[in-house]
């Protein structure tokens, strides 16, 4: 236990880095994912095609490979970052966006057809139908799955530790190596800090879920 208390500042640093990576990637992924979902149901064939291919490819790529492309292949193409955090954010947000797009799309599909028909019958165009009628309802039903995806994002940020970004899991490995006699307590400490982020999100998800269930 001492090893956790002694290294609390290190854990805290790692925790903040993980929080930062997850928060920034989460916001970008939400925006990108919603745009992709909108493209998926749009009238323009090319947008539908692009969105479908994007989601299929990214969903079927292991996160480690996404990281490899962002951190190692992109610099070869001339896209160089001063900070490797940018590569990590690119990998995490593009990857997570594919899952968010899928969740939002199934949310859109869960809105009864009558809603769209009613909106259309009073003369709304595609943008209005989507923005004013479908997405607000869809987002409500997809909030619990979205939060689950964000929980996964927090945990997935641990892969960044292998790609040039020092975050909670990376600090954990550093401590584990320096304290060979206390590897298990060190890892329990890491687990605690992850749960500090993920458990409140999980509780939020089930609360929202209960609220939405009444509205249905």
């Amino acid at each position: 236990m001492d090893v956790i208390l002694e290294n609390l500042p290190l854990y805290w640093n790692g925790f903040l880095r993980t929080l930062f990576l997850s928060a920034v990637s989460g916001v970008i992924a939400l925006v990108l994912g919603t745009l992709l979902a909108a493209a998926r149901v749009s009238p323009v064939a090319a947008l539908r095609g692009f969105s479908t291919v994007y989601v299929e490819v990214l969903r079927n790529t292991p996160l480690t490979i996404a990281f490899f492309f962002a951190a190692i292949v992109l610099p070869r193409l001339g896209v160089k970052f001063e900070q490797f955090e940018i590569a990590a954010i690119i990998a995490l947000s593009t990857y997570t966006a594919a899952f968010i797009a899928e969740a939002v799309r199934s949310g859109v599909n869960s809105v009864p057809v009558g809603q769209a028909e009613a909106a259309r019958s009073i003369g709304m165009n595609f943008g209005q139908v989507l923005n004013l009628i479908i997405l607000p309802q869809a987002l409500r039903t997809v909030v619990p799955p979205l939060i689950n995806i964000l929980i996964a994002l927090v945990k997935n940020s641990s892969v960044a530790g292998a790609f040039f970004v020092l975050e909670l899991f990376g600090y954990g490995r550093q401590l584990a190596n320096a304290n060979g006699d206390a590897v298990i307590p060190v890892l329990l400490g890491v687990a605690f800090f992850y749960l500090l982020l993920t458990v409140p999100l999980g509780i939020l998800a089930s609360t929202v879920e209960r609220k939405v269930a009444i509205a249905r």
């Binding site: 149901v41 749009s42 009238p43 323009v44 064939a45 090319a46 947008l47 299929e56 969903r59 079927n60 790529t61 292991p62 996160l63 490979i65 490899f68 190692i72 292949v73 070869r76 193409l77 990857y95 997570t96 899952f99 899928e102 969740a103 199934s106 949310g107 859109v108 869960s110 809105v111 009864p112 057809v113 769209a116 028909e117 259309r120 595609f126 139908v129 989507l130 039903t141 799955p145 689950n148 995806i149 929980i151 996964a152 945990k155 997935n156 641990s158 892969v159 899991f169 590897v183 298990i184 890892l187 687990a191 992850y194 749960l195 982020l197 993920t198 458990v199 999980g202 509780i203 269930a213």
Partner: protein
């Protein structure tokens, strides 16, 4: 569904859409061409870099890696699915003293990074890397399976359970005979999509030195030299994407088959339940 959202496009809208599509496609093709040109300039497509793929031992190692990936994923899926069912039943139990502890356990399992669980099992219990990878995957994915099935049960019309209870089934029998079969069938696409996630997560086995596909790739790049890094990774990415798309296609196929079967039943009367796989 999508057709309900907008008018059938007229000639002008179709023309704009067509022009937009062509311009967009050209932009994407241009970007791809630029990427390929840049790589070519750096000599990544030189024959000597790709010659390694004529070697039998390279394919042997890739094959072994793929075997390790698939066997860990298959074993984990086979254990995680029944465990997920069990956890789901406990989670929706009528007895609070079962339901609440299960919820705590599920929150815990869902909240822990898979890499951390793998490392923990390896170091804490002194298992082989294979067991560590499988256990890590089982712990996490059984929790996700439980949540998916629970969402499926909750999306069923209330009448299903009420009817079950009304004909004298016990609560447990109603769950097992009436609700679970429908929920599982309804959530099949999500369940298979989650299996894809599970398959991909085997690549996190690098943390416990499990010799799966990505690890084999890394070993190869280290051993043969960095000039082969890119070719090897491109091949690995292609293998992963091909296998995962194959599994996803199976999911679509199951979905179609399932919906045909359920056509006369109730499953499609309700809107499709929204439960996305969790990366």
């Amino acid at each position: 569904m999508s057709s309900v959202l907008y008018d059938v496009p007229g000639p002008k809208a179709r023309r704009i859409s067509l022009i937009g599509s062509i311009v967009g496609s050209l932009l994407i093709l241009g970007l791809l061409a630029w990427i390929i040109m840049t790589f070519a300039q750096q000599g990544i497509f030189e024959g000597r870099r790709w010659q390694i793929f004529t070697r039998a031992d390279v394919w042997m190692l890739l094959g072994n890696g793929l075997g390790a990936t698939l066997s860990a994923a298959a074993l984990a899926a086979v254990i995680a699915f029944p465990l997920g069912l069990l956890l789901c039943l406990l989670r929706i139990s009528d007895a609070a003293f079962i339901r609440i502890p299960t919820r705590v356990v599920l929150e815990f399992l869902r909240g822990m990074p898979v890499v951390l669980m793998m490392l923990f099992v390896l170091l804490g219990f002194g298992t082989s890397p294979f067991i560590a990878v499988v256990t890590g995957l089982v712990l996490y994915n059984s929790a996700v399976f439980a949540e998916i099935i629970r969402a499926g049960i909750q999306s069923l019309p209330k009448g299903q359970r009420e009817a079950g209870l009304a004909i004298g089934l016990t609560s447990f029998k109603s769950r097992m005979l009436i609700e679970l079969p429908q929920a599982v069938r309804r959530m099949m696409p999500s369940l298979v999509a989650q299996m894809v996630v599970l398959l991909k997560d085997t690549s996190l086995g690098y943390i416990v030195a499990y010799g799966e596909l990505l690890r084999a790739v890394q070993v190869m790049a280290d051993f043969l030299g960095t000039q082969f890094l890119f070719p090897i990774f491109f091949v690995a990415a292609a293998i992963y994407i091909a296998i995962n798309i194959l599994v996803s296609r199976i999911a679509v196929w199951i979905e179609r088959r399932g919906s045909k079967k359920a056509a006369g039943g109730v499953a499609k009367a309700e809107p499709e339940a929204a439960e996305a796989p969790v990366p």
